[in-house]
């Protein structure tokens, strides 16, 4: 029997994997350094012994038979393909290896070389990696927000449980699909695309916030606030985006509901106050009217008597005159109450007054599914006004504008704009314009008349009261058509004049 050639042995020594050469009876002929490290035997101790000593008890008994059968009919379960097997260290501990065996050609008797790759470490690493993945997955799935990652082209790479629940689609139906096309509600795709592009281009790591609807598999739209960041590779190149989304559909619905309830309450309160006022006024006026009717009817009866009691009649007529004057006085009092002559004028910045009510008006806008835009010129001269009254006028005009557009909301931009500007004379013009149908013919003539209304449930008093408030400020509430479409109500407030020292 000849030993393997020295070149072969040198080659084996250099191999990273453990390598063992055996003869046709299974005896070890070569045992390289890696094998020494793997099994704990020195080459001198291993050479000459049967290779089965490296195997676990389960395999040890059958190895010689396999070898003999192969030599007899060439059949092999090992040759030419590798397989995972268990191995046994000198100290008895078992571990996993990947074994590939080859028959060394043209040797007699035949020799075999086995390469043994320790897979325990790899398996351990894989297991650790898998565990980490699971933990990460768990973190993702525990998150109360939707988490979605896409690549640069918008193909979804990852979606957590929350996203799966909101979208009502399986993980596999989301991942690898195009986010914008398969999950974003059709009406919001343009918005979502713009936000997506902005994210890819963003040079900073600040999350960008946007809001759009996603559509679930059963066609339900949910309104989501998204915070997005760009994902970068180690070269700082953007590879995709990560989105975290909070489903605010219910919250927004509750907000709108609360706002609507408040609005209903306000209009009920207004009606109640007006009802009470009307009842009070009618009672006040009824008293002198009833007295006048009684006196007059008494006079008629007295006059029909054969001998009329003239002093009694004369007294009654005087009373009638007095009661008529009393009724007139009551009406005068009501008028001055409505005119509200006791106003508080202060020098103020009109833009500031507008910003103060912006929040209230914006929620009005949201209820009407529209936008409120501010277009405020700055700087502007101050104006001397009753701020609360001017704000009431603005709220009335903005509310009217949204109501005017509501019925024919046909996808056209749904916007009310409050603008301020300095006029050529140096005064301050405030305008409220909309993109609704505007005013036509008769409406334009009558719009400021009390009790004229184009709204089904309007009282027709809003504009009339607004106009009297503006009039009390030495200004005029006017109307002009907004170009290219819509209505524009405006008033010009005199600029505040500094009193001479």
């Amino acid at each position: 029997m000849t030993a393997p050639a020295p070149e072969v042995l040198a080659l084996l020594e250099a191999a990273f994997d453990a390598a063992v050469i055996i003869d046709e009876r299974g005896r070890i002929e070569a045992f390289n350094a890696s094998a020494e490290a793997m099994f704990g035997y020195r080459a001198a101790d291993a050479i000459g012994r049967n290779v089965s000593m490296l195997m676990t008890a389960a395999d040890r008994g059958t190895h010689d038979d396999h070898l003999r059968r192969h030599l007899a009919d060439g059949e092999s379960r090992v040759l030419g393909r590798g397989r995972d097997v268990r191995a046994q260290h000198r100290d008895g501990s078992e571990f996993s290896i990947f074994l590939s065996v080859g028959r060394i050609a043209n040797t007699s008797p035949p020799r075999f070389v086995g390469f043994l790759h320790d897979t325990s470490l790899r398996r351990k690493a894989l297991a650790t990696l898998e565990k980490e993945r699971q933990v990460n997955r768990l973190y993702l799935d525990l998150a109360q927000v939707m988490l979605v990652a896409t690549d640069r082209s918008g193909v979804v790479q990852l979606a957590n449980q929350r996203a799966i629940r909101v979208l009502k689609r399986g993980h596999s139906a989301i991942v690898d699909s195009n986010w914008l096309e398969s999950c974003v509600a059709p009406d919001d795709r343009a918005t979502a695309r713009t936000a997506f592009r902005a994210l890819l281009m963003s040079g900073h790591d600040e999350p960008q916030v946007c809001e759009y609807h996603v559509r679930s598999s059963d066609g339900e739209d949910r309104f989501i606030t998204w915070r997005g960041v760009a994902l970068r590779d180690i070269n700082n190149l953007v590879t995709g985006v990560m989105l975290s989304g909070e489903d605010i559909t219910d919250q927004r619905r509750a907000e709108n509901e609360a706002h609507r309830a408040l609005e209903r309450m306000n209009s009920v309160a207004r009606l109640a106050t007006m009802g009470e006022m009307a009842a009070g006024i009618s009672h006040e006026l009824n008293q002198p009217l009833a007295a006048i009717a009684n006196y007059a009817q008494a006079c008629v009866r007295f006059l029909r008597m054969p001998a009329p009691d003239l002093p009694e009649i004369s007294g009654a007529l005087e009373q009638i005159a007095g009661q008529a004057l009393r009724a007139g006085e009551i009406i005068r009092r009501i008028r001055s109450l409505v005119r509200n002559e006791d106003v508080r004028r202060e020098t103020q910045d009109i833009n500031e007054l507008i910003r103060e009510v912006h929040g209230l008006l914006a929620s009005d806008a949201r209820v009407h599914d529209g936008k409120l835009a501010l277009d405020l010129a700055s700087p502007l001269p101050n104006v001397t006004v009753d701020g609360v009254q001017i704000q009431q006028v603005l709220m009335n005009l903005v509310h009217n504008a949204f109501e005017a557009q509501a019925p024919e909301h046909d996808g056209a931009p749904f916007e009310v704009r409050i603008a301020t500007r300095a006029t050529a004379a140096g005064d301050v013009e405030v305008s409220v314009s909309d993109l609704g149908p505007g005013l036509a013919g008769e409406a334009e003539q009558k719009i400021f008349e009390p009790f004229f209304t184009t709204k089904a449930s309007g009282t027709g008093l809003g504009l009339a009261i607004s106009r009297s408030i503006i009039k009390a400020h030495d200004a005029r509430l006017g109307y002009r058509a907004n170009l290219p479409r819509g209505a524009c109500f405006y008033f010009v407030l005199p600029a505040h004049q500094e009193a001479p020292p």
Binding site: S282, N286, A293, N294, R301, A316
Partner: protein, 205 residues
């Protein structure tokens, strides 16, 4: 006994309305007294004075409804006509439920008021006559002995003398004597009349 003349009491806090009502009633030959408040009325009113009341529903101090309640408490049965303003219909309904005679919305036609006042005065006369009648029946009932009252209660329940005798444990002859006394003291000509008298004084259900 001659009845006192009937008077319409007008209670209204509004001077002009009150005075104009007085004059209107006077022009129709009806005597009226005016009071500016419920308190004023109760301080001058004597229960033997026949007539009716014309009340404003809304009054400061004691309202018309409260005044009606007070009248009921005091057992005063004068009919009350309420005058209400435009929006006071619910109050008027409540007043009617508590026994008001009628109500009028102001301003009103003189004839509407005068007709109601006339009917109220007729009602007051009837009330007073009925009260005098029941007062007399109560006086007669008070003159019965305890045994006579027992006999009266049983015979007006429709029991024959024999049964009454059985119930009271006395002879039929004794019952006959008591019964004759009852008919005499109650000034009743027949059993039917006696039953009508008892119904007139029975507490209303």
């Amino acid at each position: 006994m001659k009845d006192l003349p009937q008077t319409v009491f007008v209670v209204d806090d509004d001077d002009a309305v009150r005075d104009s009502l007085r004059m209107l009633l006077k022009s129709a030959g009806v005597h009226a007294e005016t009071c500016a408040s419920a308190q004023d009325f109760f301080s001058i009113y004597d229960a033997s004075q026949p007539g009716c009341l014309v009340l404003d529903v809304r009054m400061p101090g004691m309202s018309g409804l409260e005044m009606q309640h007070e009248l009921n408490l005091r057992g005063l049965t004068m009919p009350v006509i309420f005058i209400t303003g435009h929006g006071d219909i619910p109050m008027a309904v409540e007043a009617m439920q508590h026994g008001a005679f009628d109500f009028l919305q102001k301003p009103f036609r003189d004839q509407e008021l005068l007709d109601r006042v006339q009917r109220a005065l007729v009602r007051d006369t009837e009330n007073r006559a009925r009260l005098r009648h029941t007062d007399r029946i109560r006086e007669r009932l008070a003159s019965l002995s305890p045994r006579e009252r027992e006999v009266l209660d049983l015979v007006t329940q429709g029991k024959a003398n024999k049964m009454v005798a059985g119930d009271l444990g006395v002879s039929q002859r004794t019952v006959e004597i008591h019964r004759a006394h009852v008919m005499q003291k109650m000034e009743a000509g027949s059993l039917a009349e006696l039953v009508r008298m008892m119904m007139a004084v029975a507490p209303s259900p």
